[in-house]
């Protein structure tokens, strides 16, 4: 009889990283579905393409790094990065732009830093930001127009064709500037009512976008309910964005209104799925609140006074820089201590 030796504890919960990531993937599906309904097959094709690329890129680097392939890939984190990129990129993004983005995300931002858990920056957002600044034309002219605004809705094969070898003249027929973009550019010369005449806004806040954001919001709340993520980061992102909007943009004739900030662009996707990437986010509850608030503020600042209509990637990346600092100054107060031990270890405090 040989008795197995092990250090305590001898039991553990069933939750695993791969299952956590699987839940994240599942929680994005409503959003993906609504995106597909309103913006065509583009996002779905992007998601499949990016996920496949991400897994291949991850596998290649793992092979180079001589890591156990099946074991490392089974954590599903590469798939999540690919998925988030596929959701974030414009529906008619050329295939090679997605490829560059995925390569930057997986190889550069993630694996070159040491792989899962060691990346200081959100990989998907590194990929996104890189292609956004490198290929501005491809990235800003490929947003499919919401359903009902197409001259003739492109089918699956047609969309695939556009992504594979799309010419601008052809793609232009299917695309339209995003509501945030339109509002930002037109509000300088028009009043709110006139800006809203643009078909991209539709009847509600932002045609299609409002439902996409609602779907991501629902998925995000699901993740909180399942205790996959905590409420701190999404709540503080949205709260900070709201406070900024109310403080600086209450006049609709000057700045985009709060509803547009919340329900257009990648707000909900960013708040619930991107900012909450645990690896690159702050860890303690207070740290998470500060981190989220920073993202919310930057989101508003860049959208309003910067040169980009949306800014989830930049806001998240900028706050990623601040994470070690935030973590050092927001530890919880340990039981039995009068106050939390802030800052970094020094000889005196050790």
């Amino acid at each position: 009889m040989t008795l197995r030796q092990q250090s305590s504890p001898h039991t553990r919960s069933a939750r695993s990283t791969s299952r956590v990531m699987l839940w994240v993937i599942l929680a994005t599906l409503p959003g993906l579905a609504v995106q597909t309904v309103f913006f065509g097959w583009g996002n779905l094709i992007n998601v499949i393409w990016c996920v496949a690329l991400a897994i291949v890129a991850e596998a290649a680097v793992l092979k180079l790094r001589q890591r156990p392939l099946a074991f490392c890939l089974s954590d599903n984190t590469a798939a999540v990065t690919g998925l988030l990129l596929g959701l974030a990129l414009p529906p008619l993004t050329p295939w090679w732009v997605s490829l560059v983005a995925v390569f930057a995300a997986i190889v550069m931002a993630k694996q070159l830093y040491g792989g899962l858990g060691s990346n200081p920056f959100n990989p998907a957002m590194v990929g996104y930001a890189l292609v956004l600044v490198s290929f501005p034309v491809a990235m800003t002219t490929t947003w499919a127009a919401p359903a009902g605004l197409w001259h003739s809705a492109p089918g699956f094969t047609e969309t695939l064709g556009l992504i594979l070898h799309g010419q601008h003249s052809v793609i232009d027929a299917y695309t339209m500037a995003t509501p945030l973009d339109v509002y930002k550019h037109d509000i300088g010369s028009l009043i709110a009512e006139e800006v809203r005449q643009h078909p991209t806004f539709g009847e509600g806040v932002a045609k299609g976008w409002e439902w996409v954001n609602a779907a991501f919001l629902a998925g995000g709340i699901g993740l909180i309910a399942l205790r996959i993520i905590t409420w701190h980061i999404p709540a503080s992102v949205l709260a900070a964005l709201g406070i900024m909007s109310l403080a600086f943009g209450s006049n609709e004739d000057l700045h985009a209104p709060l509803t547009l900030h919340l329900l257009a662009g990648a707000t909900m996707l960013g708040a619930f799925f991107i900012a909450t990437d645990p690896v690159s986010a702050a860890t303690s509850p207070l740290g998470k609140l500060i981190y989220g608030a920073g993202i919310g503020v930057l989101l508003y600042v860049i959208r309003t006074w910067g040169s980009y209509p949306d800014a989830v990637a930049f806001a998240v990346l900028l706050m990623n820089f601040a994470v070690p600092f935030i973590d050092h100054y927001t530890p919880p107060r340990t039981y039995g201590h009068r106050k939390a031990r802030r800052g970094i270890a020094t000889k005196a405090s050790g």
Partner: protein, 598 residues
């Protein structure tokens, strides 16, 4: 309803408690052999008072307490001492330690019992002494000597005495069954402790998953001031610090003890042991231990004599050796795996889990930490386990300490929830061990440095003293030289003195002449021995020469081999005699030369 507080974090692992609560506590029976470790508590090991072959009665003291932290060990039954030797003891490392081996005679015959039935009529120190002499230690797990704990520092008045009946770890039901079946003893033991401490209130904290125990305690405590408080089930509510927080809202200060905030926590099993020690005069020789897990067919709680081998107890519970995969001593959260079944049940053994294959499965391989923070949410001490993990793994111990590594109670909640199945507690144990080793080495190095510096200072001091003495001598010499010189200079100017010197010199010359003429008459003490020695040497040399010459003559007549050798010896001796004679001659005239020098 009493107000309760919550502690941060905590988890809800599957309880697995029902298996071992279906049947009442059963006696485990009398094994062939009892192995009693001399150290079953925190503190100095007991000192053996028996030798192999001694016959002892049940309850006899086998090993006495040493020092303030010592507690004795008693015979759990009557029998014969077989040996006092090293034997594997319950320890995560599987180490061996000194144990007394007792062979039971089957009579189970009690020795003398000394109850203090009306204990309130005695001195408190007498009751505390009784508790100590009965070998009572904390039965909750740590094994801290109870009599020491019941003597808190004078400055700390205990306002709240808490009896810990939370038993939050999965599988373990020893305290649960004890409270169900011996509620009266629990209350009685608590009353004794309350009499010793005079607290303002007494509380028994029990998790709400033990309704039978709660009912039994409430019935037993009906006409007393004892408060039976039902607390929510959440691991680790039975941790001392957590239970105190739940019941009082207070936190035990960092590096402090509960008495610092006027609280004391005792285990329910300890209360029963105190009751038996004081009221019945019975030392701590048995305890309730849960034997559970899927590999035993009769899981349940057993009244076990201390020293009973685990193997025997498992057999009583019907262990299936084929299915047994892992043996855990204690609970699944904080217990440790056993390497053999030969080790004995000791005072702190509350549970044995005989886990079948797949019951406590091996964790999947460790994945990288994704900083999800699930561990921080689970930590009952409000630490940041993921940061501690990074620092421990990177061996950045200073940072780990800064993050309060030593506040970790190793409850295992973080490891339990970690989705990357990182053995976090293992990392913390490693870091703590390394830091302790480093501290010890620092201390050693500091001592060595102090010693070295002291030695260096002493050497320098001695050197300085030597130098001072040397300078003092040099100064004195210079002074005397100066005086001489001054005397020499002043002499010619003084006619009288010059004349006196001249007279003395003339006298000296005269005496020299006398000496030269009559050497035998010399009276100078210092020269006589020298001359005598030389003369003696000369005489000896002459004698030796004579002997040699005779030996040579004999050798020649005998025509021996050593003729050549003897010839050389004779020549040498002739030279020696000549030298000696010269020396004597030379010694005589110069001797007269030197003696009279001023």
């Amino acid at each position: 309803m009493r107000k309760l507080w919550d502690f941060s974090g905590g988890i809800h692992p599957p309880e697995h408690k029902h298996q071992s609560t279906t049947r009442p506590i059963q006696p485990a029976g009398l094994p062939d052999i009892l192995i009693l470790p001399l150290q079953q508590h925190i503190g100095s090991p007991a000192e053996t008072q028996v030798a192999a072959g001694d016959r002892v009665l049940k309850g006899d003291c086998l090993a006495g307490a040493i020092g303030t932290m010592g507690v004795p060990v008693h015979a759990p039954t009557s029998g014969t001492i077989e040996s006092v030797s090293k034997h594997p003891v319950p320890h995560p490392s599987g180490m061996v330690d000194w144990c007394i081996t007792l062979k039971p005679d089957g009579e189970d015959c009690w020795g003398e019992r000394l109850p203090l039935i009306n204990y309130t009529r005695h001195e408190r120190t007498a009751v505390l002494g009784r508790i100590r002499d009965a070998g009572v230690v904390g039965l909750g797990g740590a094994g801290f000597p109870t009599n020491i704990k019941l003597r808190p520092p004078r400055r700390d008045k205990v306002d709240t005495l808490i009896l810990n009946g939370a038993e939050c770890e999965p599988y373990i039901t020893a305290d649960d069954m004890l409270m169900r079946e011996h509620a009266a003893d629990v209350v009685s033991g608590l009353n004794i402790m309350a009499w010793l401490l005079q607290p303002e209130r007494c509380v028994i904290g029990v998790e709400d998953n033990k309704p039978e125990a709660i009912a039994a305690l409430q019935a037993a405590a009906k006409d007393t001031l004892i408060d039976v408080v039902v607390i929510p089930t959440k691991y680790p509510s039975g941790g001392e610090k957590q239970l105190i927080q739940i019941l009082t809202g207070l936190e035990v200060p960092h590096n402090g003890i509960p008495a610092d905030i006027g609280v004391m926590c005792q285990n329910v099993g300890t209360a029963v042991a105190v009751c038996r020690a004081v009221v019945h005069g019975e030392p701590l020789i048995s305890r309730i231990t849960s034997v559970t897990g899927e590999a035993v067919s009769n899981p349940g709680n057993y009244a076990v004599r201390l020293g009973t081998p685990v193997r025997y107890l498992l057999d009583q519970a019907g262990v299936d050796a084929q299915r047994l995969e892992r043996l855990v001593l204690g609970g699944p959260m904080m217990g440790y795996t056993l390497q053999s079944t030969d080790i004995p049940i000791v005072k702190t053994t509350n549970c044995i889990i005989a886990a079948a294959r797949g019951e406590l499965p091996e964790p999947p391989p460790e994945q990288p930490c994704i900083r999800c923070g699930a561990c921080a949410e689970a930590c009952p001490m409000a630490l940041l386990p993921q940061q501690l993990f990074w620092y421990s793994k990177a061996q950045e111990f200073e940072k780990a300490e800064h993050q309060n590594l030593f506040d970790c109670i190793e409850c295992g909640a973080c490891s339990y929830v970690c989705p990357s199945s990182i053995p976090l507690v293992q990392y913390y144990r490693f870091a703590k061990g390394e830091i302790r080793t480093q501290r010890a080495e620092h201390l050693k190095a500091d001592r060595a440095r102090v010693r070295f510096e002291a030695r260096q200072a002493r050497l320098e001091r001695e050197q300085a003293e030597k130098e001072a003495r040397r300078q003092e001598r040099a100064r004195a010499a210079a002074e005397s030289q100066l005086q001489k010189k001054q005397a020499a200079q002043s002499a010619p100017s003084d006619d009288r003195a010059a004349r006196a010197v001249a007279v003395q010199q003339a006298l000296a010359r005269k005496s020299e002449q006398v000496k030269a003429k009559f050497p035998a008459a010399t009276v100078d003490g210092s020269e006589t021995p020298d001359l005598q020695v030389l003369e003696q040497q000369r005489d000896q040399a002459r004698e030796k020469l004579a002997t040699m010459k005779t030996m040579l003559a004999d050798a020649r007549t005998a025509d021996a081999d050593n003729v050549d050798k003897l010839e050389r010896a004779v020549t040498k001796n002739i030279e020696r005699v000549k030298r000696a004679e010269d020396a004597v001659k030379a010694a005589q005239p110069p001797a007269t030369d030197t003696t009279e020098q001023p």
